[in-house]
Amino acid sequence: MTLESEFSPDSDRIMSVSLGPQHPGAGHFRVRLWLDGDYVVRSEPDAGYVHRGEEKMGEYRNYIQNVPHLERPVILDSSNILFPYATGVDELMNSKVPARGQYLRVIMSEINRIISHMYFIAIQGYFQGHTTMIAWGMGDRDLWIDLAERIAGARVTFAYIIPGGVRNDIPEFAIEKGLKTCDWFDKRMDEYEKIYFENPMVHQRSDHIGVLSREDAIAYGATGTVARASGLKVDVRKDEPYSAYPDLEFETPVMTQGDAWARTYVALLDMREAVKIIRQALKKLPSGPVRLKLGPQPRVPAGEVYSRTEAARGEMSYHIISDGSPRPYRLKIGVPSAKNLRVLPHLLRDVHVADIPVIYWGLNYWPVESDR
């Protein structure tokens, strides 16, 4: 650490500042910064403000009772955090989920990916001073929430993907509404490109800011949009196909700049693929039951499983250990935000103070998910 030897944090030149937890640009999170004038010399993230002990709570609830509280950490993306849990428990129980259930899982997961990315792009626009993007983004996000509400019955916490399949079947009118929403959103995304992604002001605020090279992305173990923006092609849907993804055609968008703009733009490309997947899945939707019959307190055979899926922010994984009782012996959640948080101190170095929110939010970091 040459920086530390050059600038001691105790010297008079360096000012130590705390950003958060009460700060419009920080959320439920704090970064300690050492500033030299307008430049950040060093930074130290301080997470844990929302640590709620999800993993310990998982040990004294049974496999079905675990569903509602496990989706709370990442409420924007609530189906995607349940997806690996459900696939893991299915694998432990050796149960084969019906085809329609698999397709509905994929549809809900992709709808949630769009909901999560819309929130991300909207807030990123807000931090860059682009007020149109937050107004449009938050408004359009609500139409996807409407669609998810028609399918699952709740606004953000769906508890839709459960062990053994999905909770209920998709109503007929929701299929039509889903196809209509896809068509409308395709046109809408072209407008985002015009008004936001091609905007010179946005380029000035985010080009060459917080650049993460491909080597560093590998070294820090970045996943999801952060890794893909740095030219690292990682996508669990392609690398280790699960559920109905092998039947569906889509691509993994990759960019090479690795700056804040690329990280935002990858989210848009992700949404384009998600719309493609939803349209295909809605058209191909097989008939049959949507879930297996499970008792209220299913007994899971003793064993150990590691399951992973691609959430909106990156790779979401569960390590479940069962000792044959109705409750898991150990439930470890590996979340993408915690993986991407390690990149933050690397990026927040020799940057202007004004660029901090753009870099911080560009990592698509959600503290509640990271703290669990």
């Binding site: 419009p24 403000y49 929302v50 709620r52 002990g53 004294y60 983004g137 938050m138």
Partner: protein
């Protein structure tokens, strides 16, 4: 003579009391009404997100629900100029001292909305080792908005309830 003086001051006090009443009706009540009317349409919240209900506050600030038509912005910089804390969900042991600190640093008058089941009773996390069972032990709450998370409409209803409370506040200080 002492008695006469007492009578005199008594009469004076009665007179002053009458004037006080008259002044209260003529100036005090309109002043109180005006001050509280001014406060209730410009409730500016501190941006202290405590947990996941912040997503629904974000949705309420969006184009569909548009929190700003009630005079409330989503994020505002300085807490010295704020008069509302929306406690968005779970308060953990690490965040609790910070929440109290933020509340103490705000200028009077200030109000608190407890949003979500977690900030009311601990909600889904009632048996977690790191979560407070409601924020009443730390700061006084004006409006409770139940739900996990509450819908954006429910949050806006809580905001309107708080405005009603401020409109009917009995004193000039807004409490």
């Amino acid at each position: 003579m002492v008695v006469a003086q007492q009578q005199k001051t008594g009469a004076f006090q009665v007179l002053v009391g009458k004037i006080d009443d008259v002044l209260q009706y003529a100036i005090g009540d309109p002043m109180r009404y005006l001050a509280n009317w001014g406060r209730l349409y410009s409730l500016w919240p501190v941006h202290l997100e405590t947990a996941c209900c912040s997503v629904e506050v974000g949705a309420a600030a969006g184009a569909r629900f548009d929190m700003e038509r009630f005079g409330t912005l989503e994020a505002f910089g300085s807490l010295r100029a704020c008069d509302l804390i929306i406690v968005m969900g779970t308060v953990t042991r690490k965040l609790a001292p910070r929440l109290k600190l933020v509340y103490d640093q705000m200028a009077e008058p200030k109000w608190v909305i407890a949003m979500g089941a977690c900030s009311i009773t601990g909600g889904l996390y009632f048996d977690s080792y790191n979560v407070l069972r409601g924020i009443d032990d730390i700061i006084p709450v004006d409006v409770y908005v139940p739900g996990c998370p509450p819908r954006a409409e429910a949050f806006l209803q809580g905001l309107v309830l708080l405005q009603e409370k401020i409109r009917k506040a009995p004193s000039l200080s807004g409490r």
